[in-house]
């Protein structure tokens, strides 16, 4: 069984390309048949915003998040995240997570990539 991977994204996609890079890598690992958990913390929740023009590499973020959803990945989102504007109108699978649940996600993974 491949090790479970947690991809934890804290980068703000409105100011940094690293949010997209994190999601791209998550997609690559899912394609490699790893169990992957994607966790969007803080401003990284904006990765699911409808207005992709506001995001660095927004077109890529759009493609990657849709691909991840098609492959069965749920986006775990910091429960304290407050979206501004239209958010996830296509209903990609999401799960709000508390700080305690974030701790559990971290503890349960064997590999951790934090962006």
């Amino acid at each position: 069984m491949p090790p479970a991977v947690l991809v934890l994204v804290t980068a703000d996609p409105e100011v940094s390309h690293r949010a997209n890079e994190a999601i791209r890598i998550a997609l690559g690992l899912v394609a490699g048949e790893h169990p992957v958990t994607v966790l969007l913390m803080g401003p990284a929740g904006k990765c699911l915003a409808d207005e992709i023009d506001e995001l660095v590499d927004g077109d890529d973020i759009l493609r990657h998040r849709e691909s991840l959803a098609r492959l069965g990945v749920t986006f775990h989102v910091d429960a304290s995240f407050q979206p501004h504007g239209v958010w996830n109108s296509t209903a990609l699978p999401t799960a709000p997570v508390s700080i305690e649940e974030i701790g559990e996600l971290v503890a349960s993974a064997q590999r951790h990539l934090v962006f």
Partner: protein, 105 residues
């Protein structure tokens, strides 16, 4: 503890100016000194470190050096013999195959 032939994977995604480079090089050197098989994967801004002499020195000492082809292309870094340019499939293999995997982001 005999660590020979154990496998260590390191992912580096930050620019050479970031302290992560020092950490990555230090880990690799120590691991190589102890006979560990080292796999260093440069991704995102980490591909800028490809030309650094301390990175190339790791390769000369036996570390397997990989660079993300997509990241290099986006940054205008030409393909070369300095590393094995590849995609995320290799990263996936390293994540699975290495006994320890450290991501420096």
């Amino acid at each position: 503890m005999d660590l020979r032939k154990r496998m260590l994977g390191i992912l580096l995604s930050t620019k050479p100016e970031h302290p992560n480079l020092v950490t990555a090089v230090g880990l690799c050197r120590e691991a190589l000194n102890r006979g560990i098989d080292v796999y260093l994967y440069l991704v995102d801004d980490g591909v800028y470190a490809l030309d650094r002499p301390e990175i190339q020195d790791l390769s000369l000492r036996g570390a397997k050096l990989f660079a993300c082809a997509y990241g290099a292309q986006r940054r205008g870094i030409p393909l070369s013999e300095k590393a094995t340019f590849c995609g995320l499939v290799v990263l996936s293999d390293l994540v699975e195959g290495c006994e320890r995997f450290v991501a420096l982001n």
